[in-house]
């Protein structure tokens, strides 16, 4: 009961403060009146009565003050009052407030954004049931011979055998990326697809929100295209989330497939950074590919049995490896290739996060970005700290008065800290709102149509806690120095001691060091990217359009293809603006690859080489120089001897730099078609194959009239003298004129190249932004501190000038003093930068971390910038009027 009463009383005190004050005034007035009356009754006159009454009462103000003290509810009321006061003070100095808020918002927001990425990609487990039980089962070992494809390590045979033999896992599931075409004819409408085993959804614990997901029965060899499961996002996009989706069908790669279910929102597949639109059973893959033991297109995940440890599972996988690979050995492999295949081993790794190409590519860059963005925040805090120190100093008088009125040291510290907390809370809130925007922008920058990145950003506990943590650290960093200063100033009540001056200079040196690191990193990455951009790919991508035309087997069996291909080429050549046309099975940086083991006839040295199958004129279209011999020609027919063109690198490796290889024969040792030895007819210049970053690879080019490519797609490369985009419509017309039901897709080669270095571009852009920001912050700091120092040394300058010093001497003095601090900071920063650079070496292209030119440039920029920033205040300091200053 008493507690309730107390609580009520305190609440009311809090809320009705003013009324309480008035009540008290009233009471006291009444009391005084009574005292006066008493005094008068004792015989005093009016004036004396009042005095006597006052005397008897005691100090009115003290009474009121003590009542107020009693009424103080607790800490909360103090804090609220401080917060209100802080807001008022901030409102009064808009310049400071805006600058501070901007720095904090950017700093905290950027940190939160990068962390969101980090969290989504590296920390968050898959949205499946008990992800901690999942294990990735991968294959390690030398991959040689004939291989194709992008992801995927398992052939169907391997997957099947593994399924049969393993015992450590409750279940194993398989999945593979696929691109599907949803449009029945004409230009392709691509969709991201998954091919999954029947138990995929069930074992992962992903149910359907409409209809059902796959069962074991859905995935059996020889199944038709009977069932598709679509994702929630796809359902919303394509069908407007309508409930009748189960009665609808999709046309996938020309097959009509009924939709049997929709997965829940939030399930994007098991690969972070990718999402899927629809899933089909593995058995829908063409039979030829399923039966081919050299086509690797699946990945495997397993869910551990409760009684089996991850280590035990790994041991079992290793143990069954020999038998597994023996049983799935491709018969077409030559002996040494077979030996390499047998040596492959199964290995396990934690699967809670799934596999992710995005993660693998971006782990290192993300780490660096996180580090850099933390540095930017530190810089901002240092700046803010200096600014607030200056403010604290100018409020010395205020603090002194408060102290004399009874405020304790801690009370003052508390008040200044509250100001800082208010600032950083506002910054955190705005920054927190900004973070997802920044994150989504980054994802948009990283995505390309060919390789869309999908990441699920949503505010969760981790990100929120991180933002709070960052804001807290920031508050301590920039709030503590001025708070302590306020407390100390109150004690001494004097001018700024040496300690604070040194602290400020130390802060400045730290700022310069941080700025040095940021700017150096920015320059390194910018140069690296520039190198990448100016790397010669070995061919001329400008003005080349790539047209993919899908000649499906049912309508264009092998025999009829030749005629159609030639007809198509002729018609495209006739389009105005087209310079040349050719075909190739592999488009550079296109994402797929072919390879073979090869050796010169008569030699024992085997080289693993990359491969492509091209038409005549390919090198011409791509402007690749033919160094020796000739190109493949129309005259190279299936009946005549097989020919090939090798590139410089392959020629060099095969012949050990001795004689020319033209005229010699080459054998492919890893292939089934024990084709007759192939005659080398020409040597072409080196070019990039899969990535702009790679060194020169050996490549062999076969003739596409002699060797039919495995898939049904023709890739035409078309060089035009007019704008590439304007060519798409005419080419499309040509194809549809030929056969309206053909599917096709277009890519602009130069754009494809750009997209392949998106990661490097992003790193360069972001580090440049951080570098610029860091530089701006540091220079602002220099300006601010110098101005302050100069204002403090006012008197000293006046004296010196009066004693005969020239203004230039003053300027020199100020700058010399600054130069010391600058060089200290830059030196420290330089050392740190070298260390960081060393560890970032893997991300840099063509630039060594300890690059003298870069370092020299940065040092110059920072020194010059710093001195320039300080020049203004220094000059102003030298213009002090000695008379004014010396006036006592």
């Amino acid at each position: 009961m008493r507690l309730l009463r107390i609580a009520r009383h305190r609440c009311l005190s809090l809320l009705r403060r003013r009324r309480r004050e008035t009540e008290l005034d009233h009471e006291i007035a009444l009391h005084l009146e009574a005292l006066i009356r008493e005094a008068r009754a004792e015989g005093l006159n009016e004036e004396e009565a009042v005095k006597e009454a006052r005397r008897r009462f005691g100090s009115i103000d003290r009474a009121k003050e003590e009542c107020r003290d009693e009424r103080r509810v607790n800490l909360i009321e103090d804090l609220i009052r401080d917060a209100r006061f802080a807001l008022r003070m901030l409102w009064k100095s808009p310049g400071f407030t805006l600058t501070a808020l901007a720095s904090l918002t950017l700093g905290i927001g950027a940190n939160a954004a990068i962390f969101q990425f980090f969290e989504a990609v590296r920390l968050r487990p898959l949205p499946v049931t008990r992800p901690e039980e999942l294990i990735n089962i991968g294959i390690v070992g030398e991959r040689r011979g004939n291989f194709r494809g992008r992801n995927g390590e398992y052939s169907y045979a391997l997957w099947d055998e593994l399924r049969r033999r393993q015992t450590s896992f409750k279940a194993v599931v398989a999945y593979g990326d696929s691109g599907f075409n949803l449009s029945p004819s004409g230009e392709i409408r691509g969709a991201n697809g998954l091919r999954v085993s029947g138990n995929f959804f069930r074992e992962l614990g992903v149910g359907a929100i409409v209809g059902r997901v796959f069962e074991d029965a859905d995935d059996h060899p020889g199944c038709g295209w009977d069932a598709a499961v679509i994702s929630h996002a796809f359902w919303q996009r394509e069908f407007g989330a309508s409930r009748d989706v189960l009665s609808r069908t999709l046309v996938v790669d020309g097959h009509t497939v009924p939709i049997i279910g929709v997965t829940p929102p939030g399930f994007l597949g098991v690969e972070v950074g990718r999402s899927f639109d629809l899933a089909l059973p593995i058995c829908t893959r063409p039979a030829a590919e399923i039966e081919n033991r050299t086509v690797f297109f699946l990945s495997v995940l397993g869910r551990l049995r409760p009684d089996v440890t991850p280590e035990a599972a790994r041991q079992e996988m290793r143990a069954i490896s020999p038998a597994l690979f023996e049983a799935t050995l491709p018969s077409s492999y030559q002996p040494d290739l077979q030996a390499a295949y047998r040596r492959l081993i199964l290995d396990t790794s934690p699967g809670a996060g799934g596999k992710s190409e995005f993660r693998d590519e971006f782990t290192a860059p993300l780490d660096y970005l996180l580090g850099m963005v933390a540095l930017v925040l530190l810089l901002a805090c240092a700046n803010l700290s200096n600014m607030m120190l200056a403010r604290a100093t100018s409020r010395e008088l205020e603090f002194a008065v408060r102290r004399s009125m009874g405020a304790t040291q801690w009370r003052l510290v508390q008040q200044v800290m509250v100001e800082s907390v208010v600032l950083s809370s506002m910054g955190a809130v705005i920054g927190g709102l900004l973070a997802p925007v920044i994150g989504r922008t980054l994802v948009a920058m990283l995505s390309s149509p060919a390789d869309p990145i999908v990441i699920d950003f949503h505010l969760n506990a981790r990100v929120f806690l991180f933002s709070v943590f960052v804001a807290g650290v920031a508050t301590l960093l920039f709030g503590l120095p001025p708070a302590l200063r306020a407390a100390r100033a109150a004690v001494r009540g004097a001018t700024e001691g040496r300690a604070t001056m040194t602290f400020r200079r130390a802060l400045l040196a730290a700022q310069m060091a941080l700025s040095m690191v940021l700017v150096t990193a920015a320059l390194l990455f910018a140069r690296s990217f520039h190198n990448l951009q100016t790397t010669k790919p070995g061919f001329d991508p400008e003005g080349v359009l790539v047209a993919h035309v899908f000649l499906t087997e049912d309508r264009y069996p092998t025999g009829a293809r030749g005629a159609v291909i030639d007809e198509l080429a002729d018609r495209v050549r006739a389009i105005p603006g087209v310079v040349s046309v050719a075909r190739s099975a592999i488009i550079p940086m296109g994402g797929s690859s072919m390879g073979q083991d090869a050796k010169l006839e008569g030699s024992t040295q085997v080289e693993n080489t990359r491969m492509s199958v091209v038409s005549e004129g390919y090198f011409d279209v791509m402007r690749m120089r033919l160094l020796e011999g000739r190109d493949v020609a129309v005259t190279d027919r299936p009946e005549s001897a097989p020919v090939a063109v090798v590139n410089e690198e392959l020629a060099r490796r095969l012949s050990d730099g001795r004689d020319s290889v033209v005229g010699r024969r080459i054998r492919f040792t890893g292939s089934a078609e024990t084709s007759p030895p192939t005659l080398i007819v020409g040597v072409v210049a080196n070019s990039k194959y899969a990535s702009l970053l790679e060194p020169a690879s050996p490549i062999v080019y076969l003739s596409d009239r002699q060797r039919s490519p495995r898939d049904t797609r023709i890739r035409m490369v078309i060089r035009t003298s007019s704008a590439v985009d304007s060519l798409i419509a005419p080419v499309r017309r040509v194809v549809t004129d030929l056969d309206p039901r053909l599917n096709m897709r277009f890519t602009v080669l130069s754009r494809q190249l750009e997209e392949s270095v998106l990661r490097e571009r992003l790193m360069a852009a972001l580090t440049s932004a951080f570098g610029a920001l860091g530089l701006a912050l540091a220079l602002t700091g220099v300006f601010g501190v110098t101005a302050y120092v100069v204002s403090r040394r006012h008197r000293e300058f006046g004296v010196r000038l009066a004693m005969g010093a020239r203004p230039i001497d003053i300027v020199r003095m100020v700058l010399a003093d600054l130069a010391f601090v600058l060089s200290l900071g830059i030196a420290t920063g330089g050392v740190i930068a070298v260390f960081i650079g060393e560890s970032a070496a893997s991300l840099l292209f063509g630039v060594t971390p300890f690059d003298l030119a870069t370092f020299a440039a940065v040092i110059c920029v920072l020194t010059a910038g710093g001195l320039l920033a300080a020049l203004g205040p220094a000059v102003r300091g030298s213009k002090v009027n000695p008379v004014e200053v010396l006036r006592v």
Partner: protein, 109 residues
Amino acid sequence: MAKSSDLLQGTLDLLILKTISRQSLHGWAIAKRIQVLSGDALAVGQGSLYPALHRLENQGWIDAEWRESEFGRGAKFYALTKDGKKQLDKELKSWQRLSAGVHQLLQKA
């Protein structure tokens, strides 16, 4: 600001509680009665009454209520609460113990 010594504060609290134990009074009346009953021995300044009253209200020993007073205007009347009565008994006992102890000490010395 230093608070008034605990002893004095405690005594004042006791006096106030005792004074209003029989009937509720307003501030002036309490001061008058203490003055009269103690024979002017306690002249700490009547203003210090009010902080004490606030403190006692904070603790829940007394309750305040605005009522018509003999001055023709409203005044705040303070009354003892049930808990306040218990507190008063407690403090009376401890005061008696203290004063008995001091008395004994002074006799022996």
